[in-house]
């Protein structure tokens, strides 16, 4: 088990290193550098000013030095400087973290609470009308873009209540928070729950085919014991790993949904930074997202190891 953790941890660091190189290279592939773009935006070119900014950004240094400086700054917690708001990026990013974290938490909760039980029911009632209905629902869930679903929800609200429930101010109480986040979480979570449901179903069906289910049946186990005690326990193992994939899935949904619901979170901030060509922010935000996704996957692997005795007791 410790060896397993160590190995997974090293792999995580390696992935993050690769990620940082990828992001660094990608953002340097862009035509022109940041200084060009800044001047492009203002439409005014003063060579001296330009050189000064390039120096300030370290763009006159060799690429490797630039990379090392960037990583060094990141490790010190220095997320750079936004050229749009002209404030340190950390001041922009920090207040947005709880916003996105809450939205993500609600979405995840929603998708798991809906996805896992429906997936189990669908598998246990395989090839019945209920199973077909649930499969169609999950397939349409995967087919509806979150942003469109979000817009439809807004439309329904306008129709029924005459107002648009989009974010205007920071919610004061948890209840207000729920009200603000519930609808966007529904838009993000519906799609994710469809994914979880499909995976739970196929995982459950796979387990129900196993020999030990036959053993349980031969033992005289009831349908409930078989489905929940024997099958579900094995079926949730792969579903747990899905939560890792889910993290990446959710972020995609958050990006469009925060835009639709006007939520001042990190995901929308990334889109804005890209649109404004605020590349230092883009570089650090993408790296932050990568860290979160990789860390979630690492934690999921650890959780998997705890849940699966075959890994827990492996040496």
């Amino acid at each position: 088990m410790p060896a397993y953790i160590a190995r997974r941890f090293m792999l995580m660091l390696l992935t993050l290193f690769g990620m940082s190189v990828l992001i660094f290279v990608l953002l340097r592939l862009m035509p022109g550098n940041v200084a060009d773009i800044l001047f492009d935006a203002s439409g005014f070119i003063d060579p001296a000013e330009r050189a000064r900014i390039e120096e300030e950004l370290g763009l006159d240094q060799p690429v490797v030095t630039q990379y090392v400086q960037w990583i060094g700054a990141l490790l010190r917690g220095d997320l750079g400087f936004s050229y749009v708001s002209e404030r340190p990026a950390i001041e922009e990013i920090l207040p947005r973290i709880p916003v996105t974290a809450q939205l993500a938490a609600w979405s995840l909760l929603f998708s798991v609470v809906l996805g896992v039980p429906l997936g189990v029911i669908s598998a246990v009632r395989q090839n019945t009308g209920l199973d077909y209905a649930l499969r169609l629902v999950s397939l349409s869930g995967l087919s509806l873009p979150s942003f469109w679903l979000g817009l439809l929800i807004l439309m329904a609200f306008v129709q029924w209540f005459g107002f648009i429930p989009i974010y205007t101010e920071t919610p004061a109480t948890p209840w207000d928070g729920f009200l603000i986040y519930a609808l966007p979480a529904l838009a993000v979570g519906f799609r994710s729950s469809a994914l979880i449901m499909r995976l739970t179903r196929s995982s459950m069906l796979e387990v129900l085919r196993q020999d030990f289910i036959r053993t349980a049946r031969a033992k005289g186990a009831t349908e409930q014991t078989m489905n929940y005690r024997h099958a579900l326990r094995n079926a949730v193992l792969p579903v747990v790993t899905i939560i890792g994939i889910e993290a990446a899935f959710l972020i995609g949904g958050l990006i469009v949904t925060e835009t639709v619901f006007n939520i001042p979170g990190l995901a929308r901030f990334l889109v804005e930074a890209i649109l404004w060509r605020d590349y230092p922010i883009v570089q650090n935000l993408v790296m932050l997202i990568a860290v979160v996704v990789v860390a979630v996957n690492f934690l999921v692997d650890m959780l998997y190891a705890v849940l699966d005795p075959r890994i827990r007791y492996a040496d």
């Binding site: 690769g18 862009m30 873009p145 469109w148 807004l154 036959r214 995609g252 469009v256």
Partner: protein
């Protein structure tokens, strides 16, 4: 007793059934099989084919020039001259959706094909040759898969700049690691098959073996993956365009039609929100139905 439903599949039973010659899958053409066994897959196929036809015959189906603006018909409601209404610039929504099918399918299919071809090549090389090539490819795959698909596509689109070609590239890159991983896995198993050894014994070159013997045997999973990825690629294009980073104006992209003042149109011109979204959802739904059926046909065991 009558209601008893057993999901148990005893080993002996499987043997008995296959001995009994009950295994008749693969008889008849793939299409007939799809129709008989997978009615939903057939519906999916019909949806996709209809969209392809719409894209192909867009000039015949469109009632207006999709790019022609007209201040007089700005935000015209559905009915009358504009079947589905008109957008802020007075452009006919029906015609824009019809032409939008071209963009959506072209980008979706092209990026899926590009991603699958690159992915298959990478997976074949890394699975067949192994060694350090394989090691590097796998780590790069880890990295590419660690970023959410949309984020990777966003960054790619941002660094390449908005254009049709760049959007296709931006969407195809995230497909590569998925395909490469699957091809690598099946290459590893095919590589050990006796016929590969036989080909080698006959003096066939390694490259020839990889292309003539290994690649064709890994095609089934690629086809399964490609159909599954098609919907995802179409969705990514719509999302990128919705965020303003995909297909640039004035091309009629469904995602772009929903962007900008969509939240405002929810109140004032809901048709501008409903119809393009319906088009996106329907075509993705079709590819998903088709993808499931293709997987069922080509992949005997249900996979996630």
């Amino acid at each position: 007793m009558a209601t008893m439903r057993t999901l148990v599949q005893p080993v002996d039973h499987a043997v008995e059934l296959s001995r009994a010659g009950a295994n008749v899958t693969g008889s008849g053409s793939a299409l007939l099989h799809l129709a008989g066994r997978h009615p939903l897959g057939l519906i999916g196929l019909v949806i996709v084919v209809v969209f392809v036809l719409v894209a192909a015959f867009a000039p015949l189906l469109a009632t207006h020039d999709p790019l022609a603006t007209n201040a007089a018909t700005s935000l015209a409601a559905p009915g009358g001259q504009h079947m589905l209404g008109a957008d802020f610039m007075g452009r006919d929504l029906w015609s824009r959706i019809i032409y939008g099918a071209r963009i959506s399918l072209a980008v979706g299919i092209a990026s899926t094909v590009v991603g699958c071809v690159i992915g298959a090549a990478v997976g074949l090389v890394s699975g067949y040759w192994g060694g350090w090539v394989d090691l590097v490819v796998q780590r790069v795959n880890d990295v590419l898969q660690a970023l959410p698909l949309l984020v990777l596509a966003l960054v790619m689109a941002a660094s390449l700049g908005p254009s049709l070609t760049n959007t296709i590239i931006a969407i195809s890159i995230p497909v590569v690691p998925h395909v490469a991983r699957v091809i690598r896995a099946s290459t590893l198993s095919v590589r050990e098959m006796p016929f590969v050894e036989a080909a080698r014994a006959e003096g066939m070159g390694e490259l020839q073996i990889a292309l003539r013997h290994v690649l064709p045997n890994t095609l089934a999973p690629v086809i399964v993956l490609a159909t599954a990825q098609l919907g995802s690629a179409i969705l990514t294009e719509a999302s990128l365009s919705f965020l303003g980073l995909g297909i640039p104006e004035p091309y009629p992209s469904w995602g772009r039609m929903l962007s900008e003042s969509a939240a405002e149109y929810v109140r004032t011109a809901p048709w501008l929100v409903i119809f393009p979204g319906l088009a996106i959802s329907l075509v993705i739904f079709g590819t998903n139905l088709l993808g499931d059926a293709v997987r069922d046909v080509l992949d005997p065991r249900e996979r996630s």
